[in-house]
């Protein structure tokens, strides 16, 4: 009887310990989310293979499709150690492909202090079979804001990575200056050796917006053209453009004049793409009284912008635009939301953005969805859009 009692007590203890262990396992995970992340970025390589990057349970994962997004290869992990990867708001991992065929991926690792992060870069030299050990792009490794990575590779294979950086704000706080440092700063680093290493980072501008994505494109010579939300006097958050050449000459100009005055994180970054010889197409969101999505052109010499043209329905949250230009044809896609779900609207211009055909809804989904991305392969335009309920969508555009 005594033995039986002992056995019963022992079993009780075991069951109890098991229960505790089970509950701990369920409730104590905090380093990463179990929710699926919907953000996705894609690029075609020179052969028409679609390369895709996403985030899954703390890993940046890459896969590819040879049938325009219907079937994908088994994905491979890019980072070797679990990280918290930026996927909310305007943040997402990015993928680009160099003219020599190298595949480049960037992402933001969120650190434990609020708003802090590191910008990571990884390269594949064997057409995506393997990725080399990732590297942090910036030499400043303090636990401060380095977030909202953007990457561009030009026709000569030079890689340009830009991000939002708060080192100047932190410095100003320490110096306790009379005038407050407003916003964050933009920094960039260039790789001239196909991603082997990056030169020391340099500043583009002070007082950028803190939490909006940066848009990058190239001029015909391969110089970088960047567009971002900038903090102007009296708390106005309009957009700026910069031309950055390979010798680090930087020219910054104001690009939009919406006058949205707000001390907030808008979470709405712009889009920019090169048009003809005259300059660039731009699309952006403005809040405030004139709330809505806008399109404008800006020339690449005097940096004068055209009057903004409104697109989409502000009542349905039109925002998060993507732009693509092939010859005189311009594609502008954006996301809207209504009671039944999210959908992507597309507007097309056939004369370099002067006149626009009627915008059309091209895809809907009922669940969560990413922002749209327009990409091209041999001058053919595609819309890339990831959704939770309807899966990944690649749509060939007329």
């Amino acid at each position: 009887m005594y033995k039986l009692n002992l056995i019963t007590k022992f079993s009780e203890k075991i069951i109890f310990l098991f229960l505790i262990f089970f509950c701990e396992t369920i409730f104590s995970h905090e380093s990463h989310s179990h929710r699926p992340s919907v953000v996705t970025s894609v690029s075609f390589n020179q052969l028409g293979t679609l390369w895709r990057v996403r985030e899954q349970r703390g890993f940046v994962i890459v896969d590819s499709s040879n049938d325009q997004g219907i079937n994908f290869s088994k994905s491979i992990n890019v980072n070797t150690e679990l990280q918290q990867i930026g996927t909310s708001g305007d943040a997402k991992p990015k993928i680009v492909i160099g003219p020599e065929g190298n595949i480049y991926v960037t992402w933001t690792q969120m650190l434990s202090k609020p708003y802090t992060g590191y910008i990571w870069f990884a390269r594949s030299k064997d057409h995506g079979k393997t990725f080399e050990l990732p590297q942090i792009v910036h030499q400043d490794k303090s636990e401060i804001t380095h977030r909202f990575d953007a990457i561009n590779v030009n026709k000569d294979g030079q890689i340009f990575v830009a991000w939002v950086d708060k080192r100047d704000l932190e410095k100003a706080k320490l110096q306790n200056k009379d005038t407050e440092y407003k916003g964050a700063a933009l920094y960039y680093a260039i790789s001239d050796n196909y991603g082997e290493s990056f030169k020391i980072e340099r500043k583009i501008v002070d007082s950028s917006c803190e939490c909006c994505r940066i848009a990058l494109t190239n001029d015909s010579k391969g110089n970088i053209i960047a567009m971002w939300r900038q903090l102007y006097d009296k708390g106005i958050r309009d957009h700026a453009v910069a031309k950055i050449d390979i010798n680090d000459n930087i020219v910054v100009n104001r690009a939009t004049f919406g006058g949205w005055k707000i001390d907030a994180c808008p979470h709405h970054g712009p889009a920019i793409t090169r048009g003809g010889d005259w300059g660039y197409h731009m699309a952006w969101f403005d809040g405030g009284e004139k709330v809505g999505l806008f399109y404008g052109r800006i020339d690449g010499d005097a940096w004068v912008s055209s009057p903004p043209k409104r697109f989409g329905n502000a009542n349905f949250q039109a925002g998060h635009p993507s732009l693509l230009s092939t010859n005189e044809k311009v594609y502008l896609a954006w996301k809207e939301i209504n009671e039944s779900g999210n959908y992507i609207v597309l507007a097309i211009s056939e004369d370099g953005g002067k006149n626009w055909l009627e915008a059309k809804t091209i895809k809907k989904t009922e669940g969560a969805s990413d922002y749209p991305e327009l990409i091209q392969f041999k001058k053919k335009a595609f819309l890339s859009w990831n959704t939770i309920k309807d899966g990944y969508q690649l749509i060939a555009l007329e």
């Binding site: 203890k13 109890f16 310990l17 505790i20 509950c23 701990e24 409730f27 104590s28 995970h29 905090e30 380093s31 990463h32 989310s33 929710r35 699926p36 992340s37 996927t87 909310s88 708001g89 609020p114 708003y115 803190e210 939490c211 707000i262 001390d263 907030a264 994180c265 808008p266 979470h267 709405h268 969101f285 809040g287 709330v291 009542n315 349905f316 949250q317 925002g319 996301k335 939301i337 209504n338 009671e339 779900g341 999210n342 669940g367 969560a368 969805s369 939770i388």
Partner: protein
């Protein structure tokens, strides 16, 4: 027995940290409005990634400790974040006892749209309900003058 007590303590301490946030869903706005009918109310939407939000929460906490008739509700919009991390930030802000929610819907855009179709995702976003539930929405940092005027209305 000692082991049992210790394990119980461990289990419940973790349990309570993980579940202190109430889930914010499509119908939560209606439920809050019903629950606090005829009471002044401030609903503050914030994110771990938004520096302005933390400043605003501190400001609200200070103001409402002197205006205890106004109910405070905070909503962390980082549905994908662990509640532990969100709670750690909320603890640093030292708010008075209040109801705090975290987004529970996977489609955060839809949740925002259903709460207020004229809110475009900018943060902080604060809703000031007077006793009759006339709502004044405010995007961005709350100006002191606005807060004082609203509290003294």
């Amino acid at each position: 027995m000692k082991l049992k007590i210790l394990l119980f303590f461990l289990f419940f301490s973790n349990f309570s940290i993980a579940y202190e946030f109430m889930p914010f869903e499509i119908n939560t706005r209606n439920a809050i409005e019903k629950k606090y009918i005829n009471q002044p109310l401030i609903i503050s939407f914030w994110s771990i990634d938004c520096p302005y939000c933390i400043d605003d929460l501190k400001k609200l906490g200070k103001a409402l400790s002197k205006n205890t008739n106004v109910k405070l509700i905070t909503v962390c919009i980082d549905g994908k974040e662990s509640p532990k991390k969100a709670k750690r930030i909320l603890d640093q802000v030292r708010l008075p006892e209040h109801e705090h929610y975290q987004y529970a819907e996977v489609d955060e855009d839809k949740l925002r749209y259903s709460f207020d179709p004229t809110w475009y995702g900018e943060l902080p976003r604060t809703y000031f309900y007077d006793a009759a539930h006339q709502v004044t929405p405010l995007s961005g940092k709350i100006p002191n003058s606005f807060l004082d005027a609203w509290l003294n209305k």
